[in-house]
Structure formats: C-alpha cells, structure tokens
Symmetry: C2
Subunit: 291 residues, 2 copies
C-alpha cells in the first residue's frame, strides 16, 4: 500500500514539479468578501496551475472566516481539485494548512474533519502538545502531516530558536532521538522537533514545515533529517530566495522539498504562466545542483 | 473601557464561580452523529448550567467535524449563550477552544473568524509561532486569549518540559522577560511561555492554559506569573484533583483560575446538579484557603 510520501513523490515525478500552490483567498484579493468569491478565486487558480502543481495547499483560515459558507466552499474546492486531478490523469495531493493540535478525542475530531469530512490527503499541525496530539493523524499511512518546525514569520524565533539543555535528564525517552548528535553542539527547539518527528516517522507520512526565509535553519534541519520532506513557504512575498533555499533544503535525490507559493502566483497577471515559470525555474536549479 | 479579564472577573463575582463549562459535543455522547444533535446537546448544557458557569468553552473541533453544518451550529450556540446571558442578567464570557496559530494575514483571518464571525470573547492559541501570531487577537483589550502553556495530556512533556539554556544568547530581547529569575534555576519551556505571555500582557487580556493534571507545573507557573489567569482543564475525566489544583494555581485573591469541566458535567445524570455541586465545592475550597 502507498504511503503519503510515495503518493506525493509520484505526483512530483509526474509533474516534474516541487511547486505547492497555496490557495489563500485573502479578502483584499477577492471581487467580493464572500465565500462564493473565495471559491471562484481558488477554482480559477486550480484550473490555471494544476499542470504545474506538485500539491495544492488551501489555508483553512481564509475559509473559516466565512463560517459555514466558508466550510462549504472549502469542501467544494477539494472536490474540484480531485476532479481536476482526474481530468489531467494524475492525482494531486491536497494539504490542508490548518496548524491544528489538541488533546485526545479532540485531536481525533480534527483528524476526522480533515481526512473524512473534507477528504484532504495531508495537513499541517503544531507540535507543541506532543506526540499524542499527532497520532490520530498518522494512523493511516496514506494520510500525511507536516509538523511546524521552523516557520517563516519574524516571530518564529521567540520559541523555536531556543536552545535546549539536553544534559538535564528531561524527557529522557525522547532524547533517544538525538543519539549520534555531537556532544556540546547546541540543540535548538526546532532541531529537536525535527529529530522527534523523524523518530516518529515510521510510516513515511510525517514531514516538516521549514520556512524558505531561514537558510541556516533549512541547512541544519536537513542535516538532522536527511530523508524527510519539507514544506517550505516564504519564497516570493515573504522574501525567501528560491535557489538558496533549494540548495540548503533539497535531499541528495534533489527531492524532499515542496516550495509553497501563494500570492506570488495568485497576484501574477497570469497565474498559469507564473506557476509554469516557477516550476521550470525549480527544474533548472535542480539540474544545476546535479552537476 | 473594560478589558477581557475585568469582564471575566465581573462574571466570576456575579456567579461566585470559577467553573468553566466545556461544550464538547463528542459524537458517542450524542443522540445522532449530526450537527443538529451536537447543537441540541450543547443548548441543553447551557440551559442547565448557565447560573453556575463563570464561562463557557465550546471546542471548535467537535463542530468542525460536521463541516459547514457544524460551523452553523457553533454560530447558533454562541447566539444562544448570549441570549441566555441576557435572560439571567449577567454576561457570560465565551471562550472558543481552537488552539489556532498562524502567520501574518492568516492569523488575522482566524481572529476575524473568532471575534467577528462567531462573536466569541476569548480564544485558546498555540504559542509555537511566536508573538506575531498572537497579535491580531490581542489588539482589542475586550477580547482575550489563553496561550497553551502546560497542557493536560500525557504527551505534553515531549516539548513543553524541555529545559531552556538561557545563557547562550538566543532570543536576547525576550530574555528580558525572565529578569529576576534566580541564576542557575532550570527554566522549562512552559515556564518561558508563561514569562513571555506575562511580558506581552500589557492590555490585561492574555491568560494561560495550564492543565489541572500537573500540580508542579501549576505551582511553578503561578510563581512566575502571580497575577495571570489560568484556564485549567483536566479535573474529573482526566484525573486532576480539584482541591490540590486550586491550592497550587489560585492567585492570592483566590481568583485567577478557571476550572474547566466538560464530560464530568455533560455525562452526569443531572448536568445542572453536577455544575452546581462543582461550583459549590470550589467555593468551599476557596473559603478554606482564606483561613
């Protein structure tokens, strides 16, 4: 049976693309501040960019904003992406950007909402509540999660950059995950999240969110987790540089990194052209790195 | 103008209660697995427990599960609580348990969803993304947030208990928040979250989620933040002991702690009686602590 990441890799190869098209119907970009307008905005983007998209990533916040109508629109959008996948003959993974995380039966309800009600393939989650908050999302190897690790925003340093004291005997079971790390080498919280995520990734369905705006973090997280997939926002509007980010973040097989672009595509005169160009730019950089 | 916590304190005094009634329409507890049944379940709870509730806390997950219908039900529930408040002549704060957290314009969309579309008074947030992910929620001093600090679930130790190295020059601006902490005293991540939250709490609208299941954490976080409000789940179903939790967590004025109970009330033969008894038990403990 397929895992989430073998499914993603098939699509990556089918489309020769590492581009994740973010579907963020930001109100100032819409014709009207309505759920219907948000849906139209996204449907147009899907239609224009599907051939170049390794994945689509709708962000729940921009739908939730419209309440019940927004959730109905999100459900319709997901069905439309699945239909578009059928049309082009290559299934495109849908990752819900939701950054959820809760305890016990509550986190199960969120998993049910994402995977059963909405029917997405993957979801972003916050790691702060620990492993039991993630488990209901990773039971099924065909469904995947991307754990927030080092996010692209300016405030990401407030907690994620903190240096962890590994000698003090806290969380003793978990420190098994950092075995092999050179003694005395500072361990940042985001690196520890990466180590633990890798330790938990026994079904090949856990990845990490690592902002393309933080080149040092990309490099150090790649060093810690040579095989994991990253979902990397921040190229374009947030100022991340594509080539440098790919150099730091790609795996040795020059895969392992989804470059998420939202407004850099949706605000272009032709989103189709912008997505095609980004896809091709990434192909060019990957080719260069092969040499 | 009132702040979120002066509003909450007024209700606490009006009701002589520190009880937060959790509205978690967990499917196995419903007549049918429908949004309408979830709404009925919650409306009955609200009606029965309003006189004893210092606050109500619906959890978004159990509504999101039903998609658009669930969000419509959640909106109706909030209107019904507001109507019930009017009926009893004392406004009861509504805290949406959502544990959200995202970047920039996305986190603004979540704030708009909670405070404008749904019209709740407060919300729970994850701290992992840092201050800028929280800012849109705290602009308006009448709206409040509870940041996840030390959660009640077994996995909470995976990251929250990590010991932070404060001597290494990371996050230098932020370490201003721990000024006065004795040198060499280990600082856990959850304590640092508490310090920073207190540092950011200039409008009296930031509180902390601290599970009643962790007595040591309650005591150490209270030591760090003598004046902040805690939202404390875990009494009852999760095994937290009420009296010990209150001893560790109450402020000197014997307020500062909302005891959240969900299934311990909803599954009781008479939720009204269960809520009244819990309210009275808390009154008794607070009286004892005065002596």
């Amino acid at each position: 049976m397929e895992t989430f990441f073998s499914f993603l890799e098939r699509r990556v190869d089918d489309s020769s693309s590492l581009l994740c098209v973010g579907l963020d119907p930001y109100i100032p970009d819409l014709k009207e501040a309505t759920a219907a307008s948000a849906l139209d905005f996204c449907l147009d983007l899907v239609k224009q960019t599907a051939p170049y998209a390794a994945a689509f990533k709708p962000n729940a916040a921009f739908f939730e904003l419209f309440g019940a109508d927004g959730w109905a629109a999100l459900k319709k959008l997901i069905l439309a992406i699945q239909k578009e996948s059928d049309r082009i003959g290559s299934r495109i993974p849908i990752i819900l950007d939701a950054k959820r995380g809760d305890i016990a039966s509550t986190t199960e309800a969120y998993a049910q909402s994402a995977f059963e009600y909405l029917g997405v393939d993957g979801i972003t989650l916050s790691p702060y509540l620990g492993k039991d908050s993630i488990e209901p999302f990773i039971h099924d190897q065909e469904k995947g999660v991307f754990l927030l690790c080092k996010t692209s925003n300016p405030g990401s340093g407030d907690f994620q950059d903190l240096i962890i004291n590994t000698g003090a005997g806290t969380a003793p079971d978990s420190f098994a995950a950092i075995k092999g790390r050179p003694q005395g080498m500072p361990l940042r919280l985001y690196e520890y999240v990466a180590y633990l995520a890798q330790h938990w990734n026994i079904k090949n369905n856990i990845g990490l969110v690592v902002g393309a705006t933080h080149l040092d973090a990309l490099a150090s997280i790649r060093a810690v987790t040579p095989d994991m997939w990253f979902l990397s926002p921040g190229v374009g509007a947030q100022g991340g540089e594509l080539e440098l980010a790919l150099r730091m973040g790609l795996r040795k097989d020059r895969r392992g990194m989804l470059i998420n672009v939202s407004r850099g595509i949706s605000r272009a005169e032709s989103p189709a052209k912008a997505a095609a160009e980004l896809r091709d730019e990434i192909i060019g950089i990957r080719r260069k790195l092969k040499q």
